[in-house]
């Protein structure tokens, strides 16, 4: 009987674990609490969002070196940080790609690119891909705007694209991220709070 109960308990535990697994695969939705991370920056330092006590929130952008969509947005990412870091929302760029599958996205090449473009924000390597998986990032660039709550947790306020025209910055009609952060700074909800965009698939490690 004891064995049976134990087996039963084990079954339930396994079931619960498998459920938790499928839940986390879906990634974050707007309104969820985002986890912090501790990832290696191109400077060699480990960076967490908790390190930045004065920030009101963060513009977390999954991006990389090789993807033409990421490259097309590089200057706009730099401009976002320049405009919104002073207003409490600095950019944190995270490269989620497996360098074994995309050598251009290696840590060394990230260092080269950050230096070339004079990134004034952290450019982190998500070596285990755990953060991209937990957040539910699927492509680069993929943006998550987080707002710090009274208790210090980080709430997901916007997920999606930077704006509505990757190829032609001069023809952008909607600056989604800019609008979202401006809304948050006015104590309003971003609208839209979720957009889709074409991007490069994240290069996942082969399992």
């Amino acid at each position: 009987m004891k064995t049976f109960l134990f087996a039963l308990a084990f079954c339930f535990a396994a079931f619960a674990a498998s459920n938790a697994g499928s839940g986390s695969n879906a990634g974050y939705k707007v309104g969820d609490t985002a986890r912090d991370f501790k990832l290696k920056d191109v400077s060699g330092n480990m960076v967490s969002m908790a390190d930045n006590r004065s920030a009101k929130g963060f513009i977390v952008i999954f991006t990389c070196n090789h993807c033409p969509y990421s490259v097309a947005y590089e200057d706009r990412i730099i401009a976002l940080n320049k405009a919104f870091a002073p207003k409490g929302y600095p950019v944190i760029a995270i490269n989620p790609n497996d360098p074994a599958r995309q050598p251009e996205d290696s840590f060394e090449n990230m260092q080269v690119r950050a230096k070339e473009k004079k990134f004034a924000f952290p450019y982190l390597l998500d070596e285990t891909q755990e953060i991209a998986t937990t957040y539910g990032a699927t492509r680069t660039p993929h943006v998550f705007v987080l707002k710090k709550q009274a208790d210090g947790t980080l709430k997901v306020e916007y997920i999606g694209a930077i704006d509505d025209n990757t190829d032609q910055p001069e023809n952008v009609n909607e600056k989604y991220v800019e609008k979202a952060v401006a809304a948050l700074n006015n104590n309003q909800q971003p609208d839209p709070d979720f957009t889709k965009a074409i991007g490069c698939t994240i290069k996942w490690k082969s399992k």
Binding site: C67, P68, Q102, T138, R139, G160, A161, D164, N165, T166, D167, Q168, N171, N173, E174, P192, T195, K196, A197, I198, G199, C200, T201, I202
Partner: protein
């Protein structure tokens, strides 16, 4: 409309194989119409771009499928998501070099948030992505993943059976 009709003829009935590969530029509404007018042909829309390594890697599988099913109401259409500014520089030279049998179109639709859900709400926006449609049989299946030839065949075969 006339352009759309001639496009549909080229895409669905097929251009002469082996002819120099042309790339037609289409709007989202035109693509949308194509996905609504397949009739009883299984049309496989494969979304790709010249810069997308996994896309380029799987294109030969789609090409082989298109050739293998010649005359059996299965067609592939390659939908390039390259920027329109890359048409002359990258897409046309790529098409010329690879000589794939399926037609290639370039989708010129800059605001993806306005149309990704109209292809499929399941699409997050990464490529490669593939839409399989047969309007007559009410089939509209979407896949945000990579395919090998065998994997493609295993999703096509069940859709070919009468039902």
């Amino acid at each position: 409309m006339k352009l759309l009709l001639s496009l549909a003829v080229v895409l669905l009935l097929g251009a002469a194989q082996g002819r120099a590969q042309a790339v037609s530029v289409i709007t989202f509404d035109q693509l949308d119409s194509l996905t609504q007018s397949t009739g009883d042909t299984l049309v496989i829309f494969n979304f790709w771009a010249t810069w997308c390594t996994p896309c380029i890697a799987e294109m030969p599988a789609f090409d082989s499928l298109h050739r293998a099913y010649t005359g059996r109401k299965v067609r592939v259409v390659f939908v390039s998501l390259d920027f329109i500014s890359q048409l002359e520089k990258r897409v046309i030279p790529f098409a010329g070099k690879r000589k794939f049998a399926p037609p290639i179109v370039l989708l010129n639709a800059p605001d993806p948030n306005s149309w990704i859900d109209r292809i499929s709400p399941a699409w997050s926006g990464s490529i490669p992505a593939t839409l399989v449609v047969n309007n007559a049989k009410n089939i509209r299946n979407f896949y945000e993943r990579e395919f090998t030839f065998d994997e493609l065949q295993s999703i096509i075969q069940p859709l070919m059976e009468d039902r």
